[in-house]
Structure formats: C-alpha cells, structure tokens
C-alpha cells in the first residue's frame, strides 16, 4: 500500500505510464476496529439474545434450566391461552387509543404554539416537560388523579355532587385511563416533531396565499397540512412502535386488571417468564411481539424510503 502511494511521486509524467490511484473507498480491514466496540455490544446484547430467545421458544424452559425441545408446543399453548389473545387485543386497542390522539393533539398544539412569542415558548416548555418524567412518576401522578374517594377527579366531581368514574378498576374505563396518562406523558415528542416541520415550511408560500386572499382554513388545508404530510406519517409510525411496547403504565396502575383487560403483550411476557417461571412460553410470546413490531418497523422503512412520493 505504501508503495502504491509513493509511486506517483517517483514516476515521471513524461513516461506516460498510467499509475493507478489509491481507492480511498476500498475496504480496509483495519477500519473494522472502529466499529468493533459497537458490533461487540450489538451482537452480545441484541443479536445473540434474539436467537437465544427464538431457540428458547421451542423449548420447555424455566428460569433455572432449559428443558426438552417441544417444537411449536409453546406457540400452540399461546394461541390456546385466552389471556394471551386478550393481551394482543389490549395492545392493539391501546395503540388505537393513543396513536391517533398523540398525532392529532400533537399537531393541534404545534399549530397553536408555532409562533415567536414568549408565551408560546413557555407553553411549549410546559407541554414538553411531562416527557422528561419517568414512568413511575407519571403513573404516581395519575393514580393520585384517579384514586377513588381522595383523588383529584373525585374531589372535582364531588364539588358537583357527582361520583367520579373509576378509571383504575372499571372494565370499560381502565384502558382509557391508562391511555390518557400515556398521552399526557408522551405528547411532547409529536408536538416537537410537528413544530420543527412547521418551521421548515417556506414563509413565502404563506405570503403568496395571503396575496391570493386565502383564509386561515384554506391555508391550513392547502399549504400547511400537505407540507407536513411526511412528518405526520413519521409521528404515526414512531408512536405505533413505541406504544406497542406498553408495560410500565399498566404494571404500576392496574397490574393488568381488571380481569386482564389492561394487560398488554409485554406484561403477559413478564408475567409468564418471570413470575410463573415459564420461560419457553414467555419467549414464544416475545417472538410474536417481535414480529408485530417488525411489521410496524418495516412499514416505517417503506414509507420513509419513498420520500419523493410524499
């Protein structure tokens, strides 16, 4: 290599010999050193557990031993388990409750706060501030709101002589209660993504629209919304992937109850693998969740790849 690099200096141009120049993009094994630390952790913490999990899902295993190979036995048990099927439904229901709300409320807040005033800046900070809290704090706050008798909600309802709905234990309201807490917690990110998209729309388009006497509604429909279409799709997909992984909120607020109606797949996995020691069944449920999130991630990949069309 060193010879190749020194050749052009020693060879005379008059000789007319075409000297091959060094290909700076050519693969050099020593560059592997730069990515080796990342690859090491990626392999040991992600790739290996992934395949280990797949292997476990085909075995009757508990926390302390790997038992016999059972083929698809764990998957058959899984799909005969009403609680697992319920947990899949719960997860989709929760995603259905939260994702559209996060996208629409996030967009609404961004539209309201997309101005250069001090009050808008303060409100942006306030709306984003809940995002920095941990799930423990968020669920604690919302338990204080929901708790019957002494909770904020029951105090407010009490002023009007009414009984507050029981968001923690009512089978029809429990998941909605968790969704409300989640939306309050997660609204910051979509709002910020929409704000950054709104601030990238060229101002002259709005000026042209104003010259054409376009009203606010027309401007929103014909300029603003089409300009942030890509961000809207991005927000939806990011939130689908995030909300599929629901765990902390139901674990801390309802323990998956009442009657498993707020038990998402991750809580089912935790319950099965770590509380019942049925690691094989838990691993099989993890693979199902993996496939579901993979589908959502592939959708994100396909959508973001076709940038030009959006």
């Amino acid at each position: 290599m060193a010879e190749q690099l020194t050749l052009p200096q020693t060879a005379t141009p008059a000789a007319g010999v075409r000297v091959p120049s060094a290909d700076i993009y050519a693969p050099k094994w020593r560059n592997f050193i730069f990515v080796a630390p990342y690859l090491f952790f990626f392999t040991t913490l992600l790739v290996f557990p992934l395949f280990w999990g797949i292997w476990l899902s085909f075995h009757k295993a508990d926390t302390f031993s790997t038992g016999k190979f059972v083929g698809f036995g764990n998957y058959i048990r899984l799909f005969n388990d009403k609680v697992f099927l319920q947990s899949i439904w719960n997860t989709f229901y929760f995603v259905g409750l939260t994702v559209p709300a996060l996208a629409l409320i996030g967009l609404f807040l961004a539209l309201c706060l997309n101005r250069r005033t001090r009050s808008a800046a303060v409100l942006r900070t306030i709306f984003f501030s809940s995002s920095v809290l941990s799930v423990t704090i968020v669920t604690l706050i919302w338990r204080i709101v929901y708790i019957p008798n002494n909770g904020l909600l029951s105090i407010v309802y009490g002023w009007f002589g009414a009984t507050a709905p029981s968001f923690i234990s009512d089978p029809n309201l429990a998941m909605i209660g968790i969704a409300i807490a989640t939306i309050w917690w997660c609204i910051g990110l979509p709002m910020m993504l929409f704000l950054s998209a709104l601030q990238q729309i060229p101002q002259d388009i709005y000026e042209a629209a104003a010259l054409d006497n376009a009203n606010r509604w027309q401007t929103l429909r014909s300029i603003t919304l089409p300009s942030i279409k890509r961000t809207f799709v991005l927000v939806i997909i990011i939130q689908i992937v995030l909300q599929f992984q629901l765990f902390g909120q139901p674990w801390l607020m309802t323990r998956g109850g009442p009657n498993n109606l707020t038990k998402p797949i991750v809580l089912y996995i935790y319950d099965t693998a770590f509380r019942r020691w049925d690691l094989g069944l838990g691993a099989a449920a993890s693979e199902i969740l993996f496939i579901l999130i993979l589908i959502a991630a592939m959708a994100q990949y396909l959508v973001t790849r076709r940038k030009g069309e959006l």
Binding site: N149, S166, S169, F274, R275, W277, D278
Partner: protein
C-alpha cells in the same frame, strides 16, 4: 541497617494485615420485604420502641449488628413480595445469604435445590422444630426438612369498627360484636348494617386485587371440607363448594354491602375514616389499628376496635387459610464463619419472636404463643385461635403466588359481573392446571 528496617516494617505490616483480616466481621447479605422506614428507625436498636412490621424488623437487625461485632449484616429492602427480583438473583448466581420467603413460596425454590436445609444450622444453635408451633413447623417443612426459620403465622381477619357495629345493633350484651354463623346470617347482618348506618358492611380492596379474593375462597373451601388440592398438580375449582363462595361474595358486591373500587391503601384509609364496618385485612395491621383506636378523635377511637378470625359460615372443618413468613438461606459454598454467622442471625430472630409478634402476626414458637407477655398484647385473646384454625395449602403445591393471581383474576371477574360464575370457575381451574402441568 536500612534494609533490615525495611524488612522489619514489611513483616510487621503483613502481620497486621493477617491479624486484622482474621478479626474482620463476617459479612452477610440479607434481603427482606416489609417496607423501608430508615427515616424513623434507621439507627434504632431499642426494639421495644419500634412499631409496625418495618419498624420492628429494622430495629431487630440494627440490634443484631450492634450485639454481634463479629458478624455484619447488610440489608437490601425489596418491594413486597420481591420474588421476581429474588428469582433473577438466583438465576444469575447472586442471591442474598438470608432472605424473607413466605412458607407458601418455599417449595418453588426448594424444589430447584436453591435453598439450604436448615436442620443442622438450627440444631447447632439449640433450635429444634418441636419448639415451633404446629402451623409454623408444617409451613417450613418441605420433604421432611426445614427450609426456612419460621417467624410468624399470618392470616386474614375481620377488623371491626365497633362504633358502627353498635349503631347497627350488632353488639352482644358483653360488648363483643355479633358475627354471622352462616352465609344467610352474613347477608342479613350486612343488610341490617347498611339500613342502620347507611354504610357498607365490608371495606375490601377490590380494585385490581387478587390475593384477597383467593384467600377468601381458600378459607371457605376449607370450611366446606373441599379437598380442592387433593393432587398438588391438579386443582378442582369447578365445584358446588367453590360456586357457593363466589356467589356469596357476588351477592355482597351486587347488594352494595362492600366498598368497591378501592386499592389496598385506599381501603385502609376508608376503614380508618369509618366508612365501613368490617375490613378484611391481615394480622399485620392489628398493631397500627390498635394504635389508631387509642388516639382521640379517630373513627376507631369513637366506639373501639375489635379483631376476629373469619366467622365459621359453613358446616365443615373449623379452619381458615394461613401462611407464614420465614428466613430462608440460599444454597452456596460458605466458610464455617459464615455458617456460624447465619446460625447466630436465625437464633437471634427465634429468641426475639415476641418482639415480632407485636406486629400482629402470630408467633411461630410455642413458648411465645403461650407466654403471658404475648397474651397481654391487645386483641391476642381473640386472634390467637388462628394458631389452631390456620391451614395452608398442601406443601407440595408449587407457584402458589401465580395460582393466587389466576384465581383472584377470575373471582374478581365473576364477582364484579364481567363473567358468569360457572365460566370463571371453569377458567380458573383450567388456567391453574395448565400452569401446574407445565412446571
């Protein structure tokens, strides 16, 4: 000369290091639940001044460390019951030396060979199983060996607001509460209570709860002589006996004889605020409730506080579900000093079981339960019967906490009307059996 000095200094330093290591305290790790209260009792070694489970256990361990300079116990407090964490610790080979485990959970870890049989350690310290109460000895014995030092027997009880019972006319001439003797009587008294006081008879923590439902079911199945765990690997819950119990609690729910929608903390607050007559809670709150009843201005101070075992509602055996707490020791290679330190710790807790019984739990030692000091504690005359009434599930039944969750979920669904009673019992039975078949 200089070389000689250096050599002398080195030898001296080495000797000091060897000597100091031989005098160093033996380090033991202890992991427990019962909460954290370091702000109040973090340095307290006067156990008689401590109150409540957390205060007493913290003070006892402080006193052990103070009394035994050759052993040092460092404590990790886990959220109740802490088994998910403990299981992970065992799986990663990082289990604590000594850990609190319920008698009902011992067999999970013992069956995997993770716990040290304590017979030799106990006998080396002068402790013999015949000094335990029958309930404690049965609970701590697995496959003929002792796998945990029992420290108590606990059960669920009727905690009674006597002021509301008086208002309801449910008090005998001698001032004791009138408790039901059959399911019909229970419903009639609950109705009378509701009519006279305008409040529900029961204060229960029904919101997203499992343990309470299951313990209630076990108690009333025992009282009907239902051998629902005749085979420790197969439960029978789709039975007329179980249906009777669930239908009883469903009637209580449907007729508003109970407070609904409260979690555990909320139910305690509601009972202390005088919002219902009977709270179904464990032995562990007796001390705190008694203290409340002695404080002027509280709801329990108005007419007094009483506590009783569950009433006998069926014609079968006089029994109610009970469990107990133990100190278990993880199985690992240890030095003779460490084994001796563990023995000292266990002996210390056995010797101080009276202090622990001040929490409200029943003592695990015959000498304590028959002692005048124990009998002189408030309300022990009414609850001491649990030492004879208390009955656990068969020792060979594994995953009892997971089973408790399944049965509780299904009972909750049936009682609150989300599911038919028959369907819930069928599902509870099949889910528990599916779990046990796949151990």
């Amino acid at each position: 000369m200089r070389l000689k000095n250096i050599l002398f200094a080195a030898v001296s330093a080495g000797a000091i290091m060897v000597a100091s290591s031989s005098f160093a305290a033996t380090e033991l790790t202890v992991q427990r639940f019962f909460g954290a209260c370091d702000a109040d009792f973090g340095t307290n070694t006067d156990v008689s001044k401590a109150v409540g489970e957390c205060g007493i256990i913290t003070s006892l361990i402080n006193k052990f460390n103070a009394d035994n300079p050759d052993v040092h116990v460092s404590v990790t407090t886990v959220e109740w019951p802490g088994y998910d964490q403990l299981t992970a610790q065992f799986a990663s080979g990082d289990a604590p030396d000594i850990v609190t485990i319920h008698e009902s959970v011992l067999s999970d870890y013992q069956s995997k060979g993770l716990l040290l049989p304590l017979d030799d350690v106990l006998s080396a310290n002068g402790l013999t199983p015949d000094s335990f109460t029958d309930a404690a000895r049965n609970g701590a014995t697995k496959d003929g060996k002792i796998y945990g030092l029992p420290i108590d027997t606990w059960t669920m009880l009727y905690h009674i607001n006597m002021d509301l019972f008086k208002q309801a006319g449910l008090v005998n001439a001698d001032g004791t509460p009138i408790l039901p003797k059959s399911t019909d009587e229970l419903l009639a008294q609950a109705e009378q209570f509701k009519q006279k006081t305008g409040k529900p008879y029961f204060v229960q923590n029904l919101a997203n709860e499992t343990a309470l439902y299951t313990r209630n079911l076990y108690t009333y199945l025992f009282q009907q002589d239902s051998d629902f765990f005749a085979d420790p690997k197969h439960v029978k819950l789709d039975t007329p006996e179980a249906k009777k119990v669930v239908e009883l609690y469903k009637a209580i729910f449907d007729k508003d004889y109970t407070i609904k929608d409260l979690d555990y903390g909320g139910a305690i607050n509601a009972f202390l605020a005088g919002e219902g007559g009977v709270q179904l809670n464990g032995t562990w709150v007796i001390g705190d409730y008694n203290a409340q009843s002695e404080t002027a201005g509280t709801a329990l101070n108005k007419g007094g506080y009483a506590v009783y075992p569950y009433p006998q509602l069926f014609g079968g055996a006089h029994a109610q579900y009970a469990d107990g707490h133990t100190w278990a020791v993880s199985q690992k290679d240890r030095t003779p000093e460490e084994i001796a330190g563990i023995g000292k710790f266990l002996k210390f807790f056995a010797d101080n079981d009276f202090e622990w019984s001040r929490t409200g739990h029943l003592p695990a030692y015959k000498s304590v339960i028959t002692s005048d000091a124990f009998k002189a504690l408030p309300h022990r005359d009414t609850v001491a019967a649990v030492a004879d009434l208390g009955k656990p599930l068969p020792a060979a039944v594994q995953r009892q906490f997971a089973i408790q969750d399944i049965i509780g979920e299904e009972m909750s669904a049936a009682i609150s009307g989300q599911k038919e009673v028959d369907a819930a019992l069928k599902d509870a039975e099949s889910r528990v059996n599916e779990l046990l078949e796949n151990l």
